[in-house]
């Protein structure tokens, strides 16, 4: 949309003409990607690097304000009539006008599996602004270690691409753990970069091929000068839990971590009774997060990522004791807006739903 058109459509007069609907509701008649405020995009290219993944290039509308390297965003798609949003790391460098993400098949992850199986050119995707602080500063460290496992390669790739785009790769070691060569996303690109850039050394470990999991000996062998390196780490929870103490024991330079979905410490269990004030329904708080308790009670609260990122499920809790499922911290709240998906009851809770 041209800025002057957007300014006109965003004016109070045009808003009044559309009222009580929004200008977006009418723009959707032309193209559902059009919006005055919401970032939305269309898939402009689909590539399948491995059998179990898909790499999407998304052309965002002009409400996309860009990102910093290593950040993530929510991708929303309508599946069987229902809007689902999940979080993915951005691989493209910040200067790139297109957004690149790579999605791996993921157990019962509906959005991931749908995109892997059915993503196609032209598909509409709802976007969120970029979030996250897995970002290198403007200055690139002289020596860095990028270390990832599985789909954890995506944000780390984003960081590396940013450095390469700015021609600042002096001494970077990239250690990546993948199950096998056929399973590894960005394998070809990494190999090519490794050959082209003298400042970059790529070490790939195939765990299914006898390469072994991360341990002290392997880390010392591959990165003997870890003490002098600033580290970016991303991977599945088990990998992160194993890698983090090893790295911290060897280097007191900054360690940046990006943790994916499994931010919950354990299966969500609550205790006490949950009262949904507006609908006058009482439920046991035992089964899952407050969001799951509400859904179990037949309510349909708004939700998005279901992992504490998007704030779509934010709801006023009039009073009660809640546990943050990411940190296990228990606290008393009163008239507080909470993300229902990452809080469970830790006593009686009154939710304004």
């Amino acid at each position: 949309m041209k800025p002057v058109v957007k300014k006109l459509l965003g004016s109070p007069l045009v808003g009044a003409l559309a009222s009580p609907l929004s200008v977006d509701d009418y723009l959707a008649l032309i193209d559902r990607r059009l919006s005055l405020r919401e970032p939305r995009g269309r898939v402009s290219a689909v590539a399948r690097q491995t059998p179990d993944s898909v790499t999407l290039t998304i052309e965002p509308n002009d409400n996309w304000t860009g990102h910093r390297p290593g950040q993530h965003l929510l991708l929303g798609v309508d599946l069987d009539g229902v809007r689902h949003s999940r979080c993915f790391s951005i691989v493209s460098a910040p200067g790139d006008p297109l957004i690149e993400v790579t999605v791996k098949r993921n157990g019962d992850g509906r959005v991931s599996n749908f995109l892997v199986d059915h993503a196609e050119r032209g598909q509409l995707i709802y976007l969120s602004p970029a979030e996250g602080d897995f970002c290198p500063g403007p200055s690139v460290p002289e020596r860095a270690l990028l270390i990832s496992a599985g789909s954890g390669i995506t944000p780390v790739m984003g960081v590396l691409r940013d450095w390469l785009a700015r021609d600042r790769v002096q001494d970077v070691v990239f250690v990546h753990y993948a199950r096998s060569r056929t399973d590894m996303i960005y394998a070809a690109e990494l190999a090519a970069l490794d050959a082209r850039h003298p400042g970059l050394r790529v070490e790939t470990v195939y765990t299914a091929g006898g390469g072994g999991r991360i341990d002290a000996a392997a880390l010392d062998g591959r990165v003997p000068d870890l003490a002098e390196r600033e580290t970016w780490l991303c991977g599945p929870a088990g990998f992160m839990d194993a890698a983090e103490p090893l790295i911290r024991a060897r280097s007191n330079r900054p360690l940046h971590r990006e943790q994916f979905a499994a931010t919950r410490r354990e299966a969500a269990h609550g205790e006490g009774a949950v009262q949904f004030v507006k609908s006058d329904i009482a439920a046991s708080g035992e089964n899952g997060s407050l969001l799951e308790v509400a859904e179990g009670a037949g309510l349909k609260p708004a939700y998005g990522c279901r992992m504490g990122i998007c704030h779509a499920c934010k709801c006023r809790v009039s009073e009660g004791t809640v546990r943050d499922l990411r940190t296990n911290r228990v606290r008393d709240v009163r008239d507080t807006d909470l993300q229902l998906c990452i809080h469970a009851a830790a006593g009686d809770v009154a939710v304004e739903l």
Binding site: A16, L17, L21, D25, A28, D80, G81, V82, A302, G304
Partner: protein, 372 residues
């Protein structure tokens, strides 16, 4: 008046379970097909509005004016009946689409959505056809049941009904002020807050139809103003007719507070069934009525996506037949005829059929739990 006596409590409970099963089956089946339906309706409503308003800009040509009024009326009727009313019931919340969220949707009507959700979703759908509790029973200006005490003012109610039909959205806008409670158990400050909400909405609605679009039309402004007025008028008459046919037809039952105390699920279903009446018609007719032509199904399952009422109606009717319950349906002419008859009959002092109702003083005052 009231509930049938030929069913035992166990029968009524079983009746409720059968209806629950119908509901569960549909609600578990919602998906792509339903999403496509509502998206088609949304597109139809918006296209007809855009084209209709554009035609009114050429309103000096009589066919353009008539076509514009027709399309804008269609748009306003679809928006109020099939979209707004149903979205605010939460029928489309399962889609998780912020544009169809019952919590935030605002409809093209002078009544603010939050007040509508209180007066309609809560008061009317909870206390359906309970005299003194359901404020939609005559909208506190008409006498629609023998059990409402007659007052001389009801002599002119045929005229009042006609006025209400023509300006229905304004009646709806003022409805939740609950003027009969003001100064009693409702404070003036509470009324003030509501009145400000109504004024905010009214101002936007009037500005759009009678200032902004006429300004845009320049010399065509008179045609745009008259066309917008005509479309609002048509929508008012249509929604009045459909809504009055929902609960005030000939055979519809009214209830008293006593017999509805501590209702179980099955009994609640029973009251919704007996207090509602359907309209027969074609698919386009049902869509234009917002599927309120399936008032019975709507009152049984207010949050079920409306186009599903059409599909489950034969099953609901079959269940009613098995339990020997009246499934009140008929063409618009017959049902609206019943409404007109009722409005006329109730305007005159009329004795109750059998004096079963307890002395008024023993009937508890309406209890308005706060649902907002």
């Amino acid at each position: 008046m009231g509930k049938p006596t030929h069913l035992s409590e166990a029968d009524i409970a079983e009746f409720g379970r059968e209806l629950d099963a119908v509901r569960d089956e549909v609600m578990n089946d919602l998906g792509e097909r339903d999403a496509r339906y509502i998206h088609n309706i949304l597109a139809t409503q918006r296209y007809s509005e855009v084209v209709g308003r554009a035609m009114l800009m050429a309103g000096f040509l009589p066919p353009a004016w008539l076509g514009g009024v027709g399309l804008l009326s269609l748009s306003k009727i679809l928006e109020n009946m099939e979209i707004g009313h149903n979205v605010m019931h939460g029928q489309w919340d399962w889609m998780n689409d912020p544009a169809l969220d019952s919590g935030t949707y605002e409809w093209d009507n002078t009544c603010p959505s939050d007040q509508w959700k209180h007066s309609h979703n809560y008061v009317h759908h909870t206390f359906t056809n309970i005299v003194d509790l359901d404020r939609d029973l005559g909208y506190s200006v008409l006498r629609m049941s023998e059990d409402q005490a007659w007052e001389p003012r009801f002599l002119v109610q045929p005229g009042i009904a006609l006025t209400l039909a023509a300006f229905f959205q304004w009646g709806v806008a003022l409805h939740d002020l609950e003027w009969e409670r003001i100064g009693k158990d409702k404070s003036w400050s509470e009324v003030g807050v509501q009145a400000r909400g109504i004024w905010g909405k009214v101002r936007n609605q009037l500005f759009k139809d009678y200032v902004a679009f006429p300004l845009l039309a320049g010399p065509m402004a008179p045609f745009v103003i008259s066309g917008n007025f005509a479309a609002n008028f048509n929508r008012n008459i249509w929604s009045f007719m459909i809504i009055f046919c929902g609960h005030f037809t000939d055979e519809v039952e009214m209830f008293d507070v006593e017999e509805t105390r501590d209702e179980a699920r099955g009994q609640w279903y029973l009251r919704q069934l007996l207090g509602s009446s359907n309209l027969d018609g074609s698919v386009p007719f049902h869509i234009l009525s917002g599927h309120l032509s399936y008032q019975i199904e709507h009152h049984l399952f207010p949050d079920m996506p409306s186009h599903r009422y059409r599909e489950i109606a034969p099953r609901v009717q079959a269940i009613c037949e098995r339990y020997g319950l009246n499934y009140n349906t008929g063409p618009l002419s017959k049902q609206f005829g019943g409404v007109v008859k009722r409005i006329l009959r109730m305007s005159l002092p009329h004795r109750r059929k059998g004096n079963t109702l307890a002395d008024e003083s023993s009937v508890d005052a309406p209890v308005y739990a706060e649902a907002a």
